[in-house]
Symmetry: C2
Subunit: 534 residues, 2 copies
């Protein structure tokens, strides 16, 4: 097994400590230039950490001979599986204080091997952390505490095949360890696509999307991966099972919906039949500028409450629009995109633009020419979107405390919620650092009854205390969300970082049911201990 | 409390033994005329049953004084709460052999009273059957067995208010006991609608829809009530809880999805925040005739796999089309309807008609005039649809074994599934009765990855043995569905009648979790014993 995982189909090396590909990281000069944009940052970037400097001990346990071929104790592999890719994880690596490094990393190749590993772990008090692309930003793939004898990271990426395609029903059976590009490459010859594009698309897996209820490409209608699930296969310590492939059913509570979002705490999702789509043939996009943010929110609400169903309907506030190059005059920008495999979409775009203009926006549809260059603001936003996590790591090296959090709430609460986040999170950041923070907001997903605001926070931290600074900021954010009854997470998941907020949000009868399910399916309490349930 | 429940807003009397309103039942002459259409039916209709003839004993238990004002022991009320409205229930009443008649019927008016009733029942070994409109066709609201000291029917229809409307977020907090017309009447002044119209609309409640994952009006996109739930309030024997009002969330497995479809076995749904819609302003409908059924299925698949999203997309086979008056020449008929509150829908209808014609259908869009009369086949189908359950009861009085069942499967299985149902259910009916059965099929809901076929079976039964005949037919149907991996129910629910099929369909890890949840939430095992879980 390679020491550092490479993506199939590429020869590029994944960073063990930072986002994405190592060769895509900003260099020292770029980091310094970014740092200069904020007051109080470091004079020089923190050095890129080295595995050799990490406190990696000998494994606390070794696998039995029958499983040894699936398991590695290689230090760099273990280091790459110690944490996810939140700012909190990046800075801990940069500061040489990573989370607990797993004793073992296993890469099973089929369900039986997953079951064998769970059996062995259950019998030996070994915690098992299911691991897909490792892109968690909520502490979802690290071990905390010391209740287990050892920790095994269960890396599913050797199970990455599209096993069957049913073109008639436009669906495919896909192994959970397939990264986004890996599964799309296998679907392309069939003219089909899953069309689920979270920001982490390149570095996250189908299984990770399912276990965390990931939000994808769509801004409206089917936004979460949940709706594209036809059937799930789950291996639990108490046995394995597969739900039937069904377009819909009313037979009892949905079995799949219990495992969607279970974050590896109830079982390991090993494969799924997923609903696919034809590739869109018709596309149209445009951007709309608004002098103020709140009227733009009203425009977005009007579009969300129509049945126009834009594929993209992202509202960037002035800071976010400037950062991504979508505007430079202090405007908020609404990025609209329509797609269809059936019929031209220019009429839908035109109706949406009309709604936006009637709320004070200014923007025109580009000429209806399929070869015309896309709207410049739309293109700028798209490139910046994919580059953002790399820039975040560069800023982290300059001593900037920088990360994102997201939520969702009904429309009646959105304006006050966004204002309160700016005020209260800003105050918390100022108190923790002495600097005024940059706080940007965008609406990423919209619904007839509400929206998902997404916030970016950046502020120079107290050198060496960055984790504590971020934890203070995040605690203030969670507190605002809780008081406004906005969800602790729209699509990043709960993991360990969101547990306090999640425990407040979850209704007590469901908590009782979930704990009972955990006891039944994971009696030795080895599966991803600490996420969702104690 | 009135002995026979009347719908608020009407003075019409509900039938205690048959579908809907007593005054809408076909009279003896109409029954005889219907009976004459099938060979082997009775010479005269079975008489309408009388409560006085029922074996109604004294209640096995009486409520404590503190709850007595919520409870009745009136015989007709108890009789009206003994069973649902399946054919199996109707014929048992007609033959004077009803299911177990509950000892008590309670009508709580708030959550505390529901909790008090559950507390008392738990302490006294009394089974509690949550009861909304009582329209279950799967044995969902009757008690079977003798493990409990007494049976309490918990009628929620006194909790029927729309408590709050949030027009900004287009949502409302609605009590679970509101019948369809009752809740729509309260939403109308706000210009909003839940727009969920199951066939039972007049005689079923929001709580019943939620507890059974009812299928509604829409043929595509959001077909089940599940997708319109923003938040649920549930009272369980282990405590009550309310999920947060959210347009979407990725915080753990969906709490609401565990209680949706739980059929009263995990708790009593007492209210919900529901997502509403504006009333549609634009409508267009048309029908398309097909000489053969299977090419019509392909046309429907093409429309379902487009993004046209028809509100109605029902395919009636020749028998179903003739029965409903939509065609009389042996054609299958596709009924298409489009609706929007945002924009005209003629283009979408035209594109759908084009797709249908390219698969061999013949049909034209009506002139684009909003005052034009709706397509005649569409109107005929709609009237017949609502009248059908009354006719079923009339046929039952003539000794006809007649009921429906429904399922869903992926497109690759649909043609063989429908053929197998016709063949094998037909053979079972012939074997059980000596007569060739009428078996009609329609597709009621369609998805990109599959469809929901709905079957009607009618055949003269063996007088006095009708229940056994129907059970034989239903067993054959369940067997075909199971072998074709088609769901035991798309929207009628599991209840007690579908338990064997459900037990085969449900994946074992979910079964373990569900049993554990039941133990945690209903430790005395009083809630709707026998549905979903033993």
């Amino acid at each position: 097994m390679p020491a550092t995982p490479s993506d199939p189909g590429t020869s590029r090396t994944r960073s063990w400590w930072g986002w994405g590909y190592a060769d895509a990281h900003p260099d020292d000069v770029e980091c310094a230039a970014m740092g200069a944009l904020l007051p109080g940052t470091l004079a020089r970037p923190l050095p890129i950490p080295r595995v050799a400097d990490l406190p990696i001990g000998r494994p606390g346990v070794l696998p039995p001979p029958s499983l040894a071929h699936l398991v590695t104790t290689d230090p760099e592999t273990r280091a790459a599986h110690a944490m996810g890719k939140a700012y909190r994880d990046i800075i801990r690596s940069l500061r040489g204080r990573p989370g607990r490094i797993p004793d073992l990393v296993a890469r099973p190749t089929d369900d039986q091997e997953v079951a064998d590993l769970l059996d062995w772990a259950g019998g030996h008090g070994v915690a098992v952390i299911p691991f897909g692309g490792g892109s968690s930003v909520v502490g979802g793939v690290e071990y905390r505490g010391d209740a287990h004898r050892a920790v095994l990271s269960l890396d599913l990426t050797s199970m990455d095949r599209v096993l069957e395609v049913d073109a008639t029903s436009r669906s495919a059976r896909i192994q959970a360890g397939a990264l986004g590009p890996v599964l799309e490459a296998q679907l392309r010859p069939h003219g089909l696509t899953l069309r689920h594009f979270p920001q982490s698309f390149e570095f996250s897996t189908l299984g990770g999307w399912l276990a965390t209820r990931a939000g994808g490409h769509y801004a409206t209608v089917h936004t979460h991966i949940d709706d594209f699930v036809q059937s799930l296969r789950v291996v639990t310590p108490a046995g394995a099972g597969t739900s039937w492939r069904l377009p819909a059913s009313g037979a009892g509570p949905s079995p799949d919906r219990l495992f969607l979002g279970s974050e590896g705490a109830l079982g390991v999702i090993t494969e799924a039949w997923m609903r696919l789509q034809e590739r869109p043939r018709y596309k149209a996009s445009a951007s709309v500028a608004f002098a103020d943010f709140h009227p733009a929110v009203e425009a977005v609400r009007a579009i969300a409450q129509s049945d126009l169903a834009p594929a993209n309907c992202r509202l960037l506030d002035a800071g976010e629009a400037a950062l991504s190059g979508a505007s430079h005059d202090g405007s908020a920008v609404l990025v609209l995109g329509f797609e269809s495999a059936t019929a031209p979409v220019e009429d839908r775009l035109a109706t949406a633009l009309e709604l936006a203009r009637s709320h004070g926006g200014s923007g025109e549809a580009p000429p209806a020419d399929r070869d015309a260059p896309a709207d410049a603001a739309v293109s700028a936003w798209r490139s910046a979107f994919l580059r953002m996590p790399y820039l975040r790591d560069g800023l982290a090296r300059m001593g900037v405390v920088v990360d994102t959090f997201e939520t969702a709430a009904t429309w009646d609460r959105i304006p006050a919620l966004i204002d309160a986040v700016r005020t209260e999170v800003g105050a918390a950041a100022l108190k923790a650092t002495g600097h005024a923070a940059t706080i940007n907001c965008r609406l990423t997903h919209v619904y007839p009854d509400g929206a998902a605001p997404y916030f970016t926070v950046a502020v120079a931290g107290r050198p060496g205390d960055e984790v504590a600074v971020w934890d203070d900021i995040k605690a203030a954010a969670s507190d605002v969300l809780q008081r406004h009854r906005a969800t602790i997470t729209h699509h990043h998941a709960v993991g360990r970082d969101h547990r306090p907020g999640y425990d407040l949000q979850r209704p007590e009868p469901f908590a009782l049911a979930l704990r009972a399910a955990k006891d039944a399916l994971d009696p030795h309490r080895i599966l991803n201990p600490g996420v969702l349930i104690d």
